[in-house]
């Protein structure tokens, strides 16, 4: 199986920590050169690059705000200047502004849609052109099981993540003849700083009630699926939504 990504160039958005970091490290471990995109956490991104290069991998940290289309060109330019091409885009960056819908401020709606949906659409658009020239590409979008099931307090986030699934399927259809596949991954309840800090023990246990595997997932378990979908081996898989959730949705 061609899980060897040597010669491939990947952009991973929001790669300075959590799931994005695990994805960047896994792609690099499989041989891809990785652009570690970050918005504010310069030091954390540098740490990821260091971790990758220490293992003999290739990586570069590039600051860009996915929500801001002007910075997409900077990201793309930095990528091609450093590595000459772009083959894999992992749309991972995302934010949350949780609130019950009745209390949700307009800015909380806008911020989440701006980054998680609009930003992803426009960045993908920008990256598709060089992929089309290569007649090869992989767009892997990190949605969420919340996009499949909804969640109280996350109407904005759920809308954006569900939107990403429709978006990914459309890209799959538009790009099928160009050798570019587009797939979405729906992580379930993943153990990151974000979940650890934001949730009480009780809340975590309640959430685990819904998971047949009865544990949180690890960022590396999402990264494994990304590497597979990014490989040559996954060439006939497109427009799919892969749930990596310990059986929470059995989607």
């Amino acid at each position: 199986m061609q899980l060897d990504l040597t010669g491939r160039v990947a952009i991973v958005t929001g790669a300075s920590r959590g799931i994005g970091r695990a994805i960047a490290e896994a792609l690099a471990a499989s041989g891809a050169a990785v652009v570690v995109n970050y918005r504010g956490s310069e030091a954390a991104a540098a740490e990821v690059v260091e971790a990758i290069t220490a293992k003999g991998g290739k990586a570069l940290a590039v600051q860009a705000d996915v929500a801001d289309p002007a910075s997409h060109e900077i990201l793309l330019k930095a990528t091609t200047e450093a590595f000459g091409r772009v083959d894999i885009l992992v749309n991972n960056a995302g934010i949350t502004r949780d609130n019950l819908l009745l209390r949700m401020k307009e800015s909380e709606v806008d911020d989440v849609l701006q980054t998680n949906l609009r930003g992803v659409m426009l960045l993908t658009k920008a990256v598709l052109r060089p992929m089309m020239k290569n007649k090869w590409g992989r767009v892997i979008t990190i949605s969420s099981v919340i996009g499949l099931t909804g969640n109280a307090g996350q109407a904005n986030y759920a809308a954006a993540k569900a939107g990403l699934i429709g978006f990914s399927k459309s890209v799959a259809q538009e790009m099928a003849s160009r050798g570019i596949t587009a797939n979405a991954i729906c992580p379930g309840f993943i153990e990151t700083d974000m979940t650890r800090n934001a949730m009480s023990e009780e809340l975590i246990n309640k959430a685990l009630d819904r998971i047949p595997l009865a544990r949180m997932g690890q960022p590396a378990e999402i990264a494994n699926a990304v590497v597979f979908l990014a490989s040559d081996a996954a060439g006939y898989i497109t427009g799919q939504t892969l749930a990596v959730d310990g059986g929470m949705t059995m989607y």
Partner: protein, 247 residues
């Protein structure tokens, strides 16, 4: 448009959901032939309560018997000269951990749940095709969608019902016959006390509505799909699960 004066066949009419289906159909003015396997007492009680022989016929018949299914249809057509709806509500549970499940347990559930649906369906298709109209609603469950502990046979059979219903929907669409499945979620049952005591707290925690469903809450979906107006809905699986899964 309504199902008033239309004719329905219901399998498993004495079951928890079956009873609600039968009485709901009668309330809406439909005429019903239902079959049941064992519960003479319940069948009798239903007939006594409804007390309208012009609208309700109970027949003791086993879905494992193809001939019996044919005669069920014959009775309906002979009596009322039409057949508009089929609702399969029969049920057979024979749970065991998959490691301990016998082939007999597997085959039994498969024969009643899946093969039973195909037998009665085979029987109703001819009059429906002749009339160029029909509504077939198969009751499946959450098990093929979400899995179910110690229910490998049941989940497989109910999954089979979904695959069958979708394929049949494609085959019989040209005759104006629609085929859909309703998938009840976690529903309270008469034998609930035999469940693991942790089950109800678990179920109420994970269902957004914070309670189990009642059998009578399954039927509105069935009647919606059985309505003449639902002619553009076919090949669907409609979960009725209090928002449990939302997938």
């Amino acid at each position: 448009m309504s199902i008033n004066d239309q004719v329905a066949i219901v399998t498993g009419g004495t079951g928890a959901v079956g009873r609600e289906v039968v009485s709901g159909l009668i309330q809406r003015g439909a005429r019903v032939v239902f079959c049941y396997r064992q519960r003479d007492d319940l069948a009798e009680e239903m007939c006594d309560t409804i007390a309208d022989e012009q609208r309700l016929i109970a027949i003791k018949a086993d879905v494992r018997d193809a001939e019996a299914m044919n005669s069920l249809v014959e009775v309906a057509v002979r009596r009322w000269e039409r057949l508009d709806m089929l609702i399969t509500a029969h049920s057979a549970v024979n749970n065991a951990p998959v490691a301990d499940m016998t082939l007999e347990q597997w085959n039994d559930v498969m024969d009643v749940m899946l093969r039973g649906v195909t037998r009665i369906t085979r029987a109703v298709l001819r009059p429906m095709q002749k009339a160029r109209y029909g509504r077939i609603i198969t009751i499946t469950g959450y098990q093929p969608l979400a899995g179910g502990l110690t229910q490998a046979n049941y989940a497989a059979a109910l999954g089979g019902i979904i695959g069958f219903s979708k394929s049949l929907a494609r085959e019989v669409a040209p005759w104006g016959i629609t085929v859909n499945s309703v998938a009840p979620g976690l529903i309270s049952r008469p034998h609930m006390s035999s469940f693991d005591p942790s089950y109800i707290p678990w179920a109420t925690n994970i269902v957004p509505l914070k309670r189990l469903g009642a059998p009578a809450e399954i039927t509105p979906a069935i009647f919606m799909l059985a309505n003449p107006e639902a002619g553009y809905i076919t090949g669907q699986v409609l979960p009725v699960d209090g928002g449990w899964r939302m997938v």
